[in-house]
Assembly symmetry: C2
């Protein structure tokens, strides 16, 4: 049974000044987390860094040593501030090379030499890397355990979808939720006791205020199996005992 | 003039399994980034970590050594998974102590001893820390350069607002933007040249597709001064020369 409970881990590295200035609201992390869990990969950390070479290289090296996979978003366009490919090459200590397949794709649409030269920046991938397909537009790439994708959500999502079935699969975790119409402090002590009896299943509690009532959303997350569902049933009874009108929260 | 251009830096540490599972979409980073820039503080990095003591302590110690400020969100409620205060105390090597003012506030609303005990978890702050006020509900706290706030956006925002004027103020950066109806690769070369002539101002380019046309949003960000506005004017003329129908993008 050891292999069935093996967890495969990932970090997400979000690259871009526009996220750190607050101008752009990132939505890629949440999409990546949910989709990768479906692929059997757990996101354990995320970092957001500016378009500065040293910052990106340092984060890449810290994360790729620590997690099974690193997924990056942003910085793979044709302009001067798109330096992700350069940084990945530097982190791996390999040169950037022009990929024939991407170059041929970019050359299909004619352009003056000066414009083509900039467009061909997107054909550069680290030596030894391979491509991540995209429905429209140039591919991303991967090298070692680092997967490099676009920042634009629609394009990132298309690249991520192309990886389905191609990554090492660990366990897909299952979440179940209950809404309890009980303030968080009222349920806090028994929750701690329940968590102590199921240490391998994460139990989170999130307060809410809805329909003029205070309540707490309780989320459990762990391996799909009898324990998860037994814990859910215990949680439901606990909320009933506290007159908390339990209702199932779809997760 | 040195003091007027001094930058004060910050990192944001987002604490919570629910962000890394993708169940909750973080919106605090973007609010923090914009608000802190107004206070003269630049967010330079963000990390998201799970509710695991070692991860939180390590991230706190890495970030507080590197940036002028660290702002954390999440993990300050009354339940077993709210461990941020414990982790901050551990990172600073000090005990957690019950703060009289928070305890008195929590005691105002009567409750059975068991429930009160859990609620009083929210009164524990690291020894030597002080409070971050909140319009409704218990305060957050700070110790050294680490500011600890709630994860719920409305409460975090109230805490952050209370810090206005109380933090070391550096430069507030100014952003200006232009929408250019030109594909990114067409504008890439002159953009790189413009960036090279204004190395102290960040120039970012972000492709868009709107009204059946490809275009590029160009954002410059830097110190408010003649250079920023000169660069904006140059950018505008550049887009005009490329027949890109420049329009001002409010930032």
């Amino acid at each position: 049974m050891a292999s069935s409970t093996q967890r495969v881990t990932a970090a997400v590295l979000i690259i871009g000044n526009e996220i750190l200035s607050g101008r752009t609201q990132d939505t890629n992390l949440s999409h990546l987390a949910k989709t990768l869990n479906g692929y059997g990969i757990q996101v354990r950390e995320a970092r957001t860094v500016p378009d500065i070479e040293e910052e990106i290289v340092d984060a890449l090296n810290a994360l790729r040593a620590r997690y099974d996979y690193v997924f990056t978003t942003g910085g793979i366009g044709p302009t001067h501030d798109d330096i992700t490919a350069d940084c990945v090459a530097k982190a791996f200590g390999v040169p950037l090379v022009e990929n024939d397949e991407i170059a041929a794709m970019l050359r299909k649409r004619e352009a003056p030499p000066e414009i083509m030269a900039m467009r061909l920046r997107m054909a550069r991938i680290p030596e030894g890397g391979d491509l991540i397909r995209c429905e429209s537009g140039p591919p991303g790439f991967f090298i070692g355990n680092v997967y490099v994708m676009a920042g634009i959500p629609r394009i990132m999502q298309s690249m991520l979808a192309s990886l389905d079935g191609k990554l090492r699969r660990g366990e897909t975790l299952v979440s179940r939720g209950i809404n309890a119409y009980v303030p968080e402090s009222h349920v806090a002590k028994p929750l701690g006791e329940l968590q102590a009896r199921y240490p391998h299943i994460d139990l989170g509690s999130y307060p809410f205020y809805r329909n003029d009532r205070y309540g707490t959303t309780l989320i459990i997350r762990g391996s799909d199996g009898p324990d998860l569902h037994a814990m859910y049933d215990e949680l439901w009874r606990l909320v009933e005992q506290l007159d908390g009108s339990p209702e199932d929260e779809p997760v």
